[in-house]
């Protein structure tokens, strides 16, 4: 089974939360700012726990933050 692509709307959600900085989000969810940058650039797919923590910070369901595209659709 091929690897799909996990996209996210973190940048957009930060913008709609009064331009929350990457550092602020990082501190709220307990990771480094570099990890937030990597996620926004689709260079890192977070663990399920971190994904839930991010969704909780933005007070939206998980599906509004992250989306999954199977390999066939993403290519």
């Amino acid at each position: 089974m091929g690897k799909g692509r996990i996209g996210n709307n973190i940048r957009k959600l930060r913008f709609f939360r009064n331009e929350m900085t990457q550092q602020q989000l990082a501190e709220k969810v307990g990771v480094t700012r570099q990890t937030i940058i990597a996620m926004e650039q689709d260079k890192y797919s977070p663990s399920l726990e971190l994904a839930f923590r991010i969704a909780r910070v933005f007070e939206v369901p998980l599906e509004e933050v992250f989306s999954y595209q199977p390999e066939a659709e993403s290519t």
């Binding site: 307990g30 990771v31 480094t32 700012r33 570099q34 990890t35 990597a38 650039q41 689709d42 260079k43 890192y44 977070p46 663990s47 971190l50």
Partner: protein
């Protein structure tokens, strides 16, 4: 460049220097026909001490000198992200896996020298070579993962 990347870069530089020093010393021993167990095991000790001191120096260098450079350049107090989050741990694990794989291959290749009738000294010199090489390759792999993502 994040704190972890700087730390790995400094560590990589130190281990490349150690590897170079080791290779030069071994070649010198072979050239001067002083490639014997006493000299080789003394070199093993030097390499082990250098590796420990190098690792400590890498951490101190990254923390202190990095902080001073940051303060001078930006006039802000350094914010050192020395915590390891899940991404850092994952990258560290992937690097360690590469190091173990390469070390295992190195041990197997070193043992193979017996098959070709080489003396035990060759095996011992190859063992430490592959040990340091594994560390270098693992650090390069970690840096690649930080840059490329995964």
């Amino acid at each position: 460049m994040s704190f972890q990347e700087k730390n790995i870069t400094v560590s990589l530089s130190i281990f490349v220097a150690i590897l170079g020093f080791y290779l030069i010393r071994v070649f010198q021993m072979v050239q001067h026909e002083s490639f014997n167990s006493t000299n080789l095991f003394r070199l093993w000790g030097i390499i082990a001490v250098l590796a420990v001191i190098g690792t400590i120096l890498a951490t101190i260098f990254t923390h202190i000198v990095g902080g001073i450079v940051h303060k001078v350049r930006t006039n802000e107090d350094p914010h050192i992200e020395d915590i390891q989050d899940e991404r850092d741990k994952m990258i560290d694990l992937k690097g360690t896996r590469v190091a173990y794989t390469l070390s295992s291959i190195g041990v197997a290749l070193s043992m193979l020298t017996f098959v070709f009738g080489q003396p035990p000294l060759v095996m011992f010199s190859l063992l430490i070579f592959f040990g340091v090489l594994a560390q270098v390759v693992a650090d390069i792999w970690r840096l690649t993962l930080y840059r490329r993502g995964f």
